[in-house]
Symmetry: C2
Subunit: 788 residues, 2 copies
């Protein structure tokens, strides 16, 4: 909770910001007469683009393609139906298509000066101007954010964001009375509906608010109504408690991380960058792109980096097929590329992303990118420099972090990525997944997050919105790869409670050989705290580099509980090195609540229960555990590689195998698979696991290589603040090679806010013993080959 005097200071700062903004607005108001176009594209852009469409190249191709697309519909009758359907339905899709068509025809008018394009936009706007004033609220409206043309006001704002740009393109071709008809018939009424008639959404510091303020503010620029720009920037009261600037202050962390995650970050990005670009054109003195230390550029870059193989990390409510080629990011990348700012040292990475997006925009910035792509040769090919990163969460950067670990053991091998989620809750779209992880390899999800339970815009599936199973399954903790206590989700599945808390990042370190991070949370459950430490490392065994993931999860409580740790794996189960009792003739759900009701229990097991009866908690630290206490599960991913999850099993840990799909009468869920490590009646427990990619299955070329795990042994020993992990790797032809990985937990960089400049490469020496020999190291970790 904030302290009172801090709140006062914040309020004062907001007031000053508001006054400054207002002063700027008022001073600019008198000086400028509007030249059209005036939003994302300006007059100079138009001149450059008119030249470029006469010159062979990527831009000309994009123009020709867009032109032939527009020709395909421009001669047809204009259809502006009375709103009836929800998302995915006919009238919904028709109105979406209409604003896209107006935008496209408008830009073609600017580029070709052929009046037929302007007439198309004008005539469609006439129809809207006739229809809109008669419209009641949409028959299928959503309570939280009502619309008229659409079932939700969000879509109404999107309509205006596009349409006001189309209007800006053709306004100079219209007579005064035509303008009057369109502006008073539809543009101003929608702006009014989105702002004064929907104050809750408009003032909200949330992506729905950003869409509304962008739409209204851009309308203000085009129609020369400074009042609309002001309320868009500062909220309806011009108090700065909401509005676009407040959204810039609060919706992103200082690293540009958006609190709902990359799926909504991508979605929110469009109104942010589009309105910002319009502000840059109309009020350059604001330096909006440098606002809050270039926060918008950071947001664009972090959106790019929260992806693997072109798809966004599906954390929180996320549809998994969304990736960097979405139109929102196409627009954002082009705008970033077009900026003249010192904030970007090297723009060549953006060219790589633009090539992957493979969509050239008909804007001034799109032209610059197209020319850069045309100018590239094979030797100057750019590659976006994806690296390991910690993205702080929270508007002040002090509410945990999303940690992305990346590794490419050699150029011939595909890269690995690991996502360690130690963020805050992420508001209403957040999942109860504290300290969750995901793993990617060779282009594919290996240990995965379900994402959202939703079929976007398919009416038969709950009207295309979130399915009931999004709440009962996808948000629940058991749907993730993290600790579940007593079959209850984090914060008992209560979003409001979740929003109050966040994990602590204990440390983060990355170099070319290893990336490590550790985080803790003691608020997810009343009496249970847990700390997770994850390392993605590259180990050289017998001259070959192998990627390995180490995962140590320490649970602590004063009371006894049941602890479950699931692994949701993608692929076909191949083998486990312990006997299982399969339910072959009848399936029952694993539990009754918190997502457990959706899991069919397919098999149970208690590996090594009889073989090592003496292994209990206290022995863990002392004993060298041998191979037969490593519980291994191997699966085969569709990418043709094998993955083995090995965990130290003390003989009292059950492994449960499940398949998703119980209590799902409408088959809304994908039938994904997982295994769950379970211990009962424990206060403390430590889960120690290794994930190992290996081998290749190539039935087309008829070979199978290294289908079995190389990990021969794994030991863990905690010596004060040092984790000492011993392991050995073997191959079929070479002898096993022994390693030790020591990780220091001593210093936390995140918690010591007042000591931020202190480097990770601290000089404190860490000492430990392994196999009775002493070792010491400075820094975060030591990885050594042991020669015996």
């Amino acid at each position: 909770m904030k302290k009172p005097h801090l709140q006062l200071i914040t309020k004062a700062a907001q007031l000053i910001a508001a006054i400054v903004s207002l002063a700027i607005t008022l001073s600019t108001q008198a000086a400028i007469t509007v030249n059209h176009p005036t939003l994302v594209i300006n007059l100079q852009d138009v001149i450059d683009m008119r030249a470029a469409i006469k010159t062979p190249g990527a831009f000309q191709q994009a123009f020709n393609s867009k032109k032939s697309h527009v020709e395909s519909y421009i001669a047809h009758a204009i259809t502006v139906p009375v709103p009836a359907d929800s998302g995915g339905g006919y009238t919904h899709e028709r109105h979406k298509k209409n604003y896209q068509q107006m935008y496209d025809a408008g830009i073609l008018f600017q580029l070709t000066q052929d009046p037929k394009y302007a007439l198309f936009v004008r005539d469609m706007l006439f129809k809207y101007a006739e229809l809109y004033p008669q419209l009641p609220r949409h028959p299928k409206r959503k309570n939280s954010n009502e619309g008229k043309l659409f079932w939700q006001g969000l879509n109404e704002a999107m309509w205006l964001v596009y349409t006001i740009q189309a209007y800006d393109f053709i306004i100079e071709s219209l007579t005064e009375s035509e303008r009057q008809k369109i502006e008073t018939g539809v543009l101003l009424p929608i702006a009014d509906f989105l702002s004064f008639q929907s104050p809750k959404t408009f003032n909200k510091v949330h992506n729905h608010g950003t869409w509304a303020t962008a739409a209204v503010g851009m309308t203000g620029f085009v129609l020369d109504k400074p009042e609309l720009v002001e309320i868009a920037l500062l909220d309806l009261d011009k108090a700065g408690k909401g509005g676009f600037l407040k959204q810039l202050d609060e919706l992103f962390s200082p690293d540009g991380y958006y609190n709902e995650g990359p799926y909504y970050q991508r979605f929110a990005l469009l109104p942010f960058v589009t309105f910002a670009k319009a502000i840059e054109q109309n009020q350059p003195q604001r330096n909006i792109f440098n606002y809050r230390n270039d926060i918008l550029l950071k947001a664009i870059y972090s959106t790019i980096e929260l992806s693997y193989n072109g798809l966004f990390f599906p954390i929180n409510d996320a549809i998994k097929s969304k990736g960097i080629d979405t139109m929102e990011l196409v627009i954002a990348v082009s705008i970033a590329y077009g900026l003249n700012t010192d904030a970007i040292n090297d723009k060549s990475g953006l060219i790589d992303i633009a090539k992957q997006q493979n969509r050239i925009l008909l804007t001034g910035d799109g032209l610059k990118l197209a020319q850069a792509i045309d100018a590239e040769t094979e030797s100057t090919q750019s590659h976006y420099p994806f690296t390991s990163r910690k993205f702080h969460d929270g508007k002040n950067g002090d509410e945990g972090a999303l940690i992305v670990m990346r590794q490419q053991v050699n150029q011939a091998e595909p890269s690995q990525a690991l996502v360690f989620k130690a963020t805050a809750q992420g508001l209403g779209h957040g999942h109860f997944d504290k300290l969750n992880w995901q793993f990617y390899d060779a282009g594919a999800e290996i240990v995965s997050d379900y994402g959202a339970a939703r079929f976007l815009n398919i009416e038969a599936k709950s009207g295309g919105g979130y399915l009931p199973e999004n709440k009962t399954w996808a948000k629940q903790t058991i749907a993730h790869n993290t600790l579940v206590v007593d079959e209850t989700s984090h914060f008992d599945g209560n979003t409001r409670e979740g929003n109050k808390h966040h994990p602590q990042v204990n440390f983060y370190h990355s170099d070319s050989q290893a990336t490590l991070a550790s985080a803790s949370i003691d608020t997810a459950y009343d009496d249970v705290s847990f700390t997770r430490t994850i390392a993605l490392i590259s180990v050289n065994a017998h001259g070959i580099e192998y990627p390995l993931v180490f995962d140590v999860l320490d649970v602590d409580s004063v009371n006894q509980h049941q602890y479950d740790l699931p692994v949701h794996y993608q692929g076909q189960f191949i083998d486990a090195n312990f006997p299982r009792q399969s339910f072959t003739n009848q399936l029952k759900p694993l539990g009754e609540n918190a997502g457990y009701q959706h899991l069919w229990l397919k098999a149970t097991s208690q590996p090594f229960a009889t073989e090592t009866p003496s292994r209990v908690d206290s022995d863990l630290a002392k004993n060298m555990l041998t191979d037969n206490a490593l519980a291994k599960v191997t699966w085969l991913n569709d990418n043709g590689h094998f993955y083995t999850h090995s965990s130290i099993n003390d003989g009292s840990t059950q492994v449960l195998f499940t398949q998703l799909g119980a209590n799902d009468p409408n088959n809304n869920l994908r039938n994904e698979k997982s295994f769950i490590q379970r211990v009962n009646n424990r206060a403390q427990h430590r889960f120690i696991s290794v994930l190992e990619p290996h081998g290749e299955y190539n039935p087309a070329a008829e070979y199978t290589l290294n289908a079995t795990s190389r990990l021969q042994s794994l030991t863990y020993d905690r010596q004060d603040d040092i984790s000492v992990i011993g392991f050995s790797l073997t191959t079929q032809t070479d002898a096993a090679q022994q390693f030790v990985l020591a990780v220091s937990h001593k210093q936390a960089d995140d918690n010591l806010k007042n000591n931020k400049q202190k480097s990770n490469n601290h000089s404190i020496t860490n000492s430990f013993s392994y196999l009775s020999k002493p070792y010491s190291f400075s820094g975060r970790y030591l990885l050594l080959t042991i020669t015996q």
Copy 2:
């Protein structure tokens, strides 16, 4: 069964063939001294290739790539381990790698004349020459086909097919004593082991026999041992009852269809074309590629055509990831391309396939293909002309057929393919799937066949061989999209019984608008016969072409039975237009035997049971059934398109929804989904269904189009020998359009063997009435738009 006097004639013909063969062999024997290389590559090829590797182009690239690959291992120690492992295990994969390495090093010796490559092959062969004489039978041998180096003799033959070519490449670099050591130490002993010591396999008219005879015959050519060539061609007794020529006579139908299906056809193709090419070089007077009306070329072309989107149709025991880029077909396509024969009118289609294969062989034929690919420009791009075809089955072409229907409604749309399996059993790898069908659209499987239950070479999965579930699930009738009577598979799951029978193809017709076929079988069950008629058509509604599949299955018996008709669909269930009773809290298997024990019953339903209580069999023909008697199931494939299966439901047909995975303790099965139409206590029944691709789901671009089926009504009326199918299609913006499809069952082309020349375009007039109006047509079918 054959009649006795026919057998006599066949025997006499075989004897004559044998004598002719022998005469040719003996006459050539004296005349030729062996010039090396003498198998797939000859001296002229070597001269051409030595020039080509100095010229930039695809061939030079392939050479450079192969060279750098060979350099990566040639300096390392040679490893020839004592055989121990089964498929996928270390020694198995090592010996496979060894013969590939010898082959590659051998061809590099021919191309570069660098002795180091020859020495590598020689030294490895020395190690084999030392090891082989001491070897007992393989410790993990298969009873049916034993090996020494490998667990099965089949792999031993493959070893020799590659190794004898490698030896042929380096033989002239060896001293007489080196040759002696290698030939007597390993080559001749293996040839002897594969032939005289394994007479059953060697003489077998089966792909294992082809591998053995090819290996032994090619060894005969290289070592100048005509005796080996003779037994390879004519069997161990030189009687022509087995051997390569007999295999050419019997293993392919006159259309080049291989009785085990494309997966094994592809596999068998390599020894066929490789040995044939060697015969062509050494005994050109045989005209082996023109043997039996160019049967080998027909086999190559039919292998290509039994594929969709690069993957083979997975009928019978087939691993689904196998496709046209397999090495066997790369070799076959290059050899076909290299032939000088009038039998191929146009080779440009082969260039298209070679480009898709993307592997240039370092052979004379590979060079010709590489040069053709280099010479192609954008305007001369070739496309393989995939068309609808009927592939007759059986060595005489009279044992049913595999019917492939193809359609591309317009160039912008992806093509459809439908496989209608009215073939014979296909020996030991055959499935009990009479009159099964599969459907493909937009690059993906939509209605699918499970293929084989096998993880090739993964030891943890039953040693990499066929899993137990291959027999208990994959082969069973319920695993396919065809009729199951009383929960019992066709021929009661007895392969020997299945091999005795085959379906009758009643008719097959194809033109640009429609492909239709009908087939019947009365031997799959004692007292039940069934006829299936399938049509893939393109319907023009409101100016747009839509693909539709019509499926009518007539069942007839004197006794009452339970009839099940499953549809195994690929995708996520979206919706059904009838209520279902889902088993949400407990699952049980659907049955106990014949594959039913592997299906979890997820939901049951009896659509329209209460709404249309009067609808029974006899009404079907008379009533115009309306929309509410059409039971619709819609799913969404990963290709982003929707598919709706609509079936006329008389109120007494249950629909059962299942998921695969019961009684599968080792998770060997993929958890695929199906729905099953079921009627009980019926003697006659007619299943009438339509499959309809529609719409698009694009969550990345955030739109969903036409998620609901356009089929508004469907009626069926049998008028004498004419099926009269009425249907209407609607869209959200246009009114419904009414069609009638009439199919004549009058004339059967397949059954009238003595009247083969009679065209499908017969002039008989077919008359029928529809909605009380009379119509008539000649030919196989009529498709009309009804204007009302």
